[in-house]
């Protein structure tokens, strides 16, 4: 599987000279299977660039939304395949007890917040609500599970011939835990992350910042790394960088946390434009 990062920033797009190396676009990651199946994880502002790079020959695209916070859906109407007649775009996302996924997305994709509605786009859009049973798209098998973050939020695990990539961009597994890390059975997201070859996980805050942001739904780099250790992953990719953190500050955060916890796995902080290969 080829995993490419089109947007790595959390909360708010933050372009500028201080964020050039890690990137300023919000959450969007593509996973391409060995047979060419493409899954798009989240539709933050990074999805615009992905849309420009996708081959016109790909006519069926799956976008998997973890949740509907603005930094994960803002790029959706700028995704070129949605404006392409003949394209079939499947949008997967969390279910709600009150409104359909389509109806909730229309709240953003309609006037006065946005001038064009989803139904005015040329592509055929098909909605699917999760979590549910595991399912397959092409050569990829996909599992979803609710994880701790304000408003229903889903984590995804994509597998190909036993290799696994897990994506949890917004996740606070330490929320309310009297001790952390705690037992695997009582840790949010463990069921998805267990033994992953690649874990893409929220690492928005420093430990000090986290103390005043408990309950915001995000992790400190320390908590994220401890979660990766508990889950026994092979490679950990810190993600959802805080918009207030400059490239230099992120360098420092990642260096200090690795020096403190000395993980046995590889730590590869996510950078916009970066691609990683996971062998199937």
């Amino acid at each position: 599987m080829k995993v490419t990062f089109w947007g790595t920033r959390g909360s708010l797009a933050s372009p500028g000279p201080d964020t050039v190396r890690y990137g300023g676009n919000t959450s969007c990651v593509s996973v391409e299977g060995v047979e060419g199946t493409v899954i798009v994880l989240d539709a933050g502002t990074g999805i615009r660039t992905l849309g420009m790079h996708l081959s016109h020959e790909i006519t069926r695209i799956h976008i998997m939304l973890t949740h509907l916070h603005m930094d994960h859906i803002q790029g959706l109407p700028f995704f070129a395949p949605l404006r392409r007649k003949g394209a079939e775009v499947h949008i997967w996302g969390p279910a709600s007890n009150t409104l359909s996924l389509n109806a909730r997305l229309q709240k953003y994709l309609s006037p006065p917040l946005f001038p064009v509605s989803l139904r005015e786009l040329a592509a055929e859009v098909i909605f699917h609500e999760l979590p549910g049973d595991a399912f397959e798209i092409g050569e990829l098998s996909i599992r979803s599970h609710l994880i701790i973050h304000p408003n229903p939020t889903i984590g995804y695990r994509l597998e190909c011939s036993g290799a696994a990539v897990t994506y949890m961009p917004d996740h606070e597994p330490a929320l309310g835990a009297v001790t952390y890390p705690r037992e695997k059975e009582w840790t949010s997201g463990y069921i998805l992350a267990e033994g992953s070859d690649l874990l893409v996980h929220d690492a928005q805050f420093t430990e000090q910042e986290y103390q005043t942001r408990v309950g915001f739904g995000h992790s400190s780099i320390r908590h994220a790394m401890q979660f990766a250790m508990l889950a026994g992953v092979k490679e950990f990719v810190p993600f959802h960088h805080d918009p207030a953190h400059s490239d230099d500050e992120l360098d420092r955060m990642f260096e200090e946390s690795q020096a403190e916890l000395r993980p046995s796995f590889t730590v590869t902080p996510s950078r916009e434009g970066m691609s990683l290969e996971v062998e199937c």
Binding site: P94, A95, S96, N97, E129, P131, H145, L146, I147, I148, P152, L175, G176, A177, V178, K184, E185, W186, T187, S188, G189, Y190, I191, E194
Partner: protein, 131 residues
């Protein structure tokens, strides 16, 4: 290894912080957790009992009504809450595992999560003075 549902994890976390005795069961009624305040009344630490099947915990505390008659498991508020998926409330007495009797007032609720998933039940209880 499996993992508890998110709503159950958050319920346990909340119970660990609250100063009210709380008892959490799964959809089958099997005990999943009780907090420190519940340990005082139940007479044993959760770490010592661990999870318990409904058939065990529902008689382990010898629940009796105001007249001293044993209460069958199916009439306990928590068992009503998970069977009928509605709140249930009752005053009765139990014998803790340390042998002490406690008159308690129990409110039990079904635990229903996202997409109307039935996840079990929660009982909140208090020591109750005789009326």
């Amino acid at each position: 290894m499996s993992q508890q549902e998110i709503e159950v994890i958050l319920s346990r976390h909340l119970a660990e912080y609250l100063a009210m005795p709380i008892f959490i069961v799964n959809p089958e009624g099997d005990l999943m957790f009780y907090n420190e305040q519940a340990e005082v009344i139940l007479g044993r630490r959760y770490n010592e009992t661990g999870p318990m099947p409904a058939s065990v915990w529902s008689i382990a505390f010898h629940p009796v009504d105001e007249e001293g008659n044993p209460i069958p498991p199916e009439e306990l508020p928590l068992m009503i809450a998970i069977r009928e998926r509605r709140p249930a409330h009752k005053i009765f007495s139990i014998r803790g595992m340390d042998g002490d009797m406690h008159r308690i007032e129990v409110t039990a609720l079904p635990l229903i999560g996202q997409a109307n998933r039935f996840l079990g039940g929660i009982a909140i209880f208090w020591e109750s003075e005789p009326s």
